[in-house]
């Protein structure tokens, strides 16, 4: 499941050139409605097929998981942290999570995007990449 947290590079804070290039220009949401709108833009733009949720304006999920700007966790069947990814962006390693899943549940072959247009921008791709998991075993 992907959880949308506060923006990393909004226009009114630390916007990067790549945001302009990728046409991903948003101000930091000040209301839940604004967060929901950006999250919907993301899922619609990339036809994001995976379960998706939005951290509310209290940033409860972000605070509980020290999630910002991007991070991966795997929670096991008993409700414990089984895998704890590093802090993004430098230690955000989807491939490490994928390897962890493959070692524990078996490898799954993933299809590559059909065309470059299908690929999300760097940050979005990073967020989406690790989620594919053994579909029979992992939500």
């Amino acid at each position: 499941m992907t959880v949308y947290v506060r923006e990393a590079h909004p226009t009114d804070e630390w916007q990067m050139k790549s945001n302009v290039k990728d046409d991903v220009c948003y101000a930091q949401p000040k209301t839940l409605e604004q967060r929901v709108a950006i999250a919907n833009d993301f899922t619609k733009r990339f036809k994001f097929p995976l379960p998706f949720g939005i951290d509310d304006m209290s940033n409860a999920a972000n605070d509980a998981y020290a999630a910002w700007p991007e991070r991966i966790y795997i929670i096991d069947e008993s409700g414990h942290i089984a895998y704890r990814g590093g802090m993004g962006p430098f230690n955000y390693k989807p491939e490490e999570a994928r390897e962890w899943l493959a070692a524990r549940y078996g490898a799954v072959k993933h299809e590559a995007p059909k065309s470059p247009a299908d690929a999300a921008p760097a940050s979005a791709t990073r967020a989406a990449a690790p989620t594919p998991a053994p579909t029979a075993a992992v939500k």
Binding site: M1, T2, V3, Y4, V5, R6, E7, A8, H9, E13, W14, Q15, M16, C25, L32, R35, V36, A39, N40, T43, P51, F52, G53, I54, D55, D56, A61, N62, A64, Y65, A66, A67, W68, P69, E70, R71, I72, Y73, I74, I75, D76, E77, G79, H80, I81, A82, R84, M87, G88, L101, Y105, S123, R126, A127, P130, T131, A133, A137, V138, K139
Partner: protein
Amino acid sequence: MNRFWKWTVGIFGVLFLAAFTLLSFMAGSPKDAFGMVRYALPHMHRGTLKVGSDAPDARIVALDGVSRFHIRERTHERPLVLVFGSFT
């Protein structure tokens, strides 16, 4: 200003310049280095969760903006991959 203070200020100045240059290199530019210090570092936390910790719960808003659910509602019987991120 006596000699001691001149050296102290000089050394701190050089160290500050070196640190800013290194940060600019890491971030991509002086502007990005400023952005990192001003906007990113205050929000980046290593956190206290460890492998084996109870997974914390939090209320999440669905894409419709109205429905709510809890992370732990999704952790029964099957493992859950949680991917946190934003659009930008």
